[in-house]
């Protein structure tokens, strides 16, 4: 088994093993209560459960768009870790979200993100949010992420 820092297969394996605890180290993701459900090379899936404290419109009881922003931003960032040969921290440069249809109240939102291209300093990602499948999408996202320079010290508690 290789080192997750510079061996992609070993890192994906490490991420899969730690999938359940992955979001607990990210306070705002924890507040949203979403979870990572599946990890493949360059691709990651998650679920955002419906929660009353995330409602953005009291009349329709629909979850606020910002919750989808958080979910897709976070999944995009993590998809970079499943694509880069060497582990690097990434930072969101920009994120565009298009809303195709409103989310339905009371239903969980599924999300997935794909890191489809990387250069030396930038990773490009796209993401989807839906109730059932990408055929009936709630929102799509497109983002660019800056790839940070390597850090010599890898501390306990750092996020992959």
């Amino acid at each position: 088994m290789g080192n997750p820092m510079n061996d992609l297969d070993a890192r994906i394996e490490f991420m899969r093993e730690n999938m359940a605890q992955m979001m607990s180290v990210t306070p705002w993701a924890n507040e949203m209560g979403f979870e990572v459900t599946r990890i493949e090379k360059g691709h990651i899936w998650g679920v955002q459960p419906f929660k009353d404290h995330l409602i953005g419109d009291p009349e329709t009881q629909v979850i606020h768009g910002g919750v989808i922003t958080t979910l897709l931003d976070n999944l995009c960032g993590m998809s970079c870790s499943t694509k880069l040969k060497e582990f690097r921290f990434v930072a969101t440069l920009d994120l565009r979200i298009d809303y195709m249809r409103p989310a339905e109240s009371g239903r969980d939102i599924l999300g997935e993100a794909e890191c489809y291209h990387v250069t030396k300093s930038v990773a490009f990602c796209r993401a989807w949010a839906y109730h059932e499948s990408r055929e009936k999408v709630i929102a799509t996202a497109q983002g660019a992420f800056a790839i940070n320079k390597p850090r010599s010290n890898f501390k306990k508690g750092d996020q992959l």
Binding site: G66, T69, N74
Partner: protein
């Protein structure tokens, strides 16, 4: 003037009922048709503990909510605006302190509006993030209806 105040009261009343506003812990400081969104720092807003940075999603939610609130303040609509799309530029790291935002309605049409918003911390000239959003608004209310 009293009409503007009524609008501000309506907005404040509406925001008090929105769960995500309470979850974020944000409020809006309204002065007539001008407004500043305030997001006091809380540990739960953090996205990366190692560098103690605010989560991009928390910043995005705050910016989107501020843009919607400003739009509600100046557009004569009964329902909150619906987001068509948003683009967020993350310009600087959000540090572990209060975040402020101001939004400008760039174009107010009959059905749609274009809104820009900017968030900053210690220095107004050093924005942390900027948002450009398009929103769907209902038809304007008929006078006296």
């Amino acid at each position: 003037m009293s009409e503007t105040l009524t609008r501000a009261e309506q907005l404040t009343g509406f925001l008090e009922q929105v769960p995500i506003v309470k979850t974020l812990g944000m409020h809006c400081d309204i002065k007539g048709d001008d407004m500043v969104g305030v997001l006091p720092f809380q540990n739960k807003l953090i996205g990366n503990f190692t560098i103690k940075a605010l989560h991009g999603g928390a910043i995005g939610t705050f910016l989107e909510m501020t843009a919607m609130a400003q739009l509600f303040l100046v557009a004569d609509v009964e329902r909150p605006p619906r987001t068509i799309n948003i683009t967020i530029d993350y310009l600087r790291q959000g540090h572990a302190k209060d975040l402020y935002a101001r939004a400008t309605v760039v174009k107010l049409g009959r059905r749609m509006a274009s809104v820009r918003a900017e968030a900053w911390q210690s220095e107004r000239d050093k924005p942390v993030a900027a948002l450009l959003g398009h929103f769907l608004i209902g038809e304007k209310r008929v006078e006296g209806a």
